[in-house]
Amino acid sequence: MMPNPAESMPEEIEEHAQRMSVFVAVLGPTVTLLALVGLWEVLARWSGVPAWLLPAPSAIGDSMIDWRAELAWHTMITLYEVLIGFALSIAVSIPLAVAVVYSPFLQNTIYPILLALQSMPKVAIAPLLVLWIGFGAMPKILVVFLVCFFPIVVATASGLSAVPPALIDLIRSLSATTYQTFVKIRFPTAIPHIFIGLKIAITFAVIGAVIGEFVGSDQGLGYLILTSTSQSRTPLAFGALLILTIMSIVLYYAIEFMEHLVVPWAPKN
């Protein structure tokens, strides 16, 4: 086991330190969040700002309960777009990154084009995708795919190139084949890097799905925000926003959890 600096401390101080760290890590943020929500409630109720402009947290909660069936339905739609687009992106990005790293030709031809494409704002492509593919889930999935694609390619490519030079020399001294080097050294070295790319990508993915829904859709949380704000059902829009935020956080931590399972050796950040 890793030596823990706390081990050398007397028990009482150690316990105290642990209590403090629990407070700092969990209690502190929770209390702060609750205080802010409470302040919001007070301001929204007694400042005279109309509810369609800034609803109180309690009003948002009420509307979420009233609309729970619709919210659940639209959440499933958006989650579906996010997950399929993200999975598609992984399936394409990782093999492409491997190809780019191993082929100088692709490195010189495809990679610059990818870089150029990355500079193109995806929000601006979304209407074109709707124009080409029409309504339905596909254009949203493609927007998600596009926003996730680049971080995963770059992270994978840099991970595959992150093998220490001395290790390369060692492998070369054993006359290892390209395949052996890939399977035993390069790919495992790249996995922690790939997870960094995945974590960046998953936060983009939710944004991508919402953008896709904004541009043209009749379902999904993005669509729900758009219609409820236009119909002055602001509390519902806030509810959808809250769900999107929670979705993003949950997906992020799901990937982080997977990372702990797959790469227990990764350096902690």
């Binding site: 220490p164 001395a166 020399d169 060692l170 006359s175 050796w265």
Partner: protein
């Protein structure tokens, strides 16, 4: 028996600022089971020479014979230890030791007890299942040494293997290396910038000087074996170290 023969060997790198002569007219013969240390300041070409012996890089010109034959590809007859342990963090110590066996396509089931023996030999019995992050720097370097020995090479190339360790661990590992070398006869080529270490370990010290990298002097160390730390304070040892210092810094440019 002559193991390695190097004659009129040159290595020139083409860099942006022009041609850099890393090695110039190097002549060296290494006998089988000899312990050779290459010592010199940064830029003297000692690591370059080591890599040429491992066939990791090619000389620009000159003769390099391994067992009497030119060596164009790396050979499995060589084990390498670097300054950094470069263990695979996702493998336990035992599986790290077995890596060369896997790559060379040796029988892993036969290799496993051998890997256990090697870890025992370097004093890591009971740490077979430990991961690199759970081991100290010195322990990781012991694993790296076991890994270099797993395929039973006759030559061990070591590129400043103890340079990243603290002074006490360094001395300890030096003597353990001598003990292993004594029981498992190997030809060792050991690169260091530490003059004391170079003398204490070697049969012969190859002192190199920089710009261009060349052999300044080859000293036969006539200290009895087994070597001990106390030998460092004998007049003979001082004569050796003075001589090495004087030839390494021959042009008066002392390099820190």
């Amino acid at each position: 028996m002559l193991k390695i023969k190097i004659e009129h060997l040159f290595k020139i790198y083409n860099s942006r600022s022009g041609r850099v002569s890393a090695l110039e007219d190097v002549n060296l013969e290494i006998q089988q089971n000899e312990f050779i240390t290459l010592v010199g300041p940064s830029g003297c070409g000692k690591s370059t020479l080591l890599k040429i012996i491992g066939a990791l890089i090619r000389p620009t010109r000159g003769t390099f014979l391994y067992d009497g034959k030119p060596l164009l590809q790396p050979t499995r007859d060589v084990g390498i230890v670097f300054q950094e342990p470069v263990l695979l963090p996702w493998r336990a110590a035992l599986d790290n030791v077995l890596l060369p066996a896997e790559i060379l396509g040796l029988d892993i089931e036969e290799g496993r007890p051998r890997a256990m023996d090697l870890l025992k030999l370097v004093g890591l019995e009971g740490f077979e299942a430990s991961y690199p992050r759970e081991l100290s720097g010195g322990m990781q370097q012991r694993v790296a040494l076991s890994r270099a020995l797993i395929h039973n090479p006759s030559v061990l190339l070591m590129d400043e293997p103890f340079a990243a360790l603290d002074a006490m661990t360094r001395e300890e590992l030096g003597f353990e290396l001598l003990r292993i070398w004594n029981t498992h006869k190997k030809t060792v080529v050991f690169v260091t910038h530490n003059i004391v270490e170079a003398i204490l370990l070697a049969d012969r010290v190859v002192a190199m000087s920089p710009r261009p990298g060349r052999i300044a002097k080859i000293l036969k160390i006539e200290l009895p074996r087994p070597r001990t730390l106390e030998m460092e304070f004998t007049p003979k040892f001082k004569t050796y170290s003075d001589e090495i210092r004087s030839v390494i810094y021959h042009n008066g440019t002392a390099v820190a």
